[in-house]
Subunit: 132 residues, 2 copies
Amino acid sequence: MSNSIPESYRDLFQKRAFAHLATLMPDGTPQVTPVWCDYDGTHIRINSAKGRVKDRNMRRNPQVALEIMDPDNPYRYLSVRGRVTEITETGADTHIDSLAKKYLGQDTYPYRTAAEVRVLYKIRPDRVSSMG
Amino acid sequence: MSNSIPESYRDLFQKRAFAHLATLMPDGTPQVTPVWCDYDGTHIRINSAKGRVKDRNMRRNPQVALEIMDPDNPYRYLSVRGRVTEITETGADTHIDSLAKKYLGQDTYPYRTAAEVRVLYKIRPDRVSSMG
């Protein structure tokens, strides 16, 4: 158990591996959805749109967890418990484009809608366990 | 949003799709790990061993969530919020063997240890959303 991402597992962030993100509903029960992610060397970063369930959940309660499975070996994964330490719209559009490049091979995020406000979340890993 | 698994997504349980299971730690924060799963027509069933973190979490707090992604299309998935309604050792060994058949193609679960007590958990879906 560590509070940083082991060097030997950082390759997961180079792959098209999804983070399975758990956030907490208003009643304290969990919810899980897949999200694109990357790692800036300190924080795991994800991206969503303002007003979505996970956006509202993380603004209310910054305690989250996520699991990232190696797409080449499902028995190799990271399980992270942590805290959202920053929620910002600054850089969120550039960030979703960089995730679109990583996950779709496209320079620009193709699903952007006029009404949607992109949001970038930085997650500080507090407990990291690795398997496989 | 439904409280049952849509017919059109039940194929996910025929595939080697993992459930990304969120349980709640003693302090109410979430934890996520991948688990094998199946569906008995009413409950999503998972299997673990007595004393593991997720086992202790589900005994303390039956509120869980899980997400199951189509291994053939990561943009197609189920997100389920629900409650563990039964925790039993009865049938748990047979169940882990059937999951080993599904996920590994082996008749007998190959990782059994002498000290480990297998446990079967039945999860009642309360909120099911599907994507893709």
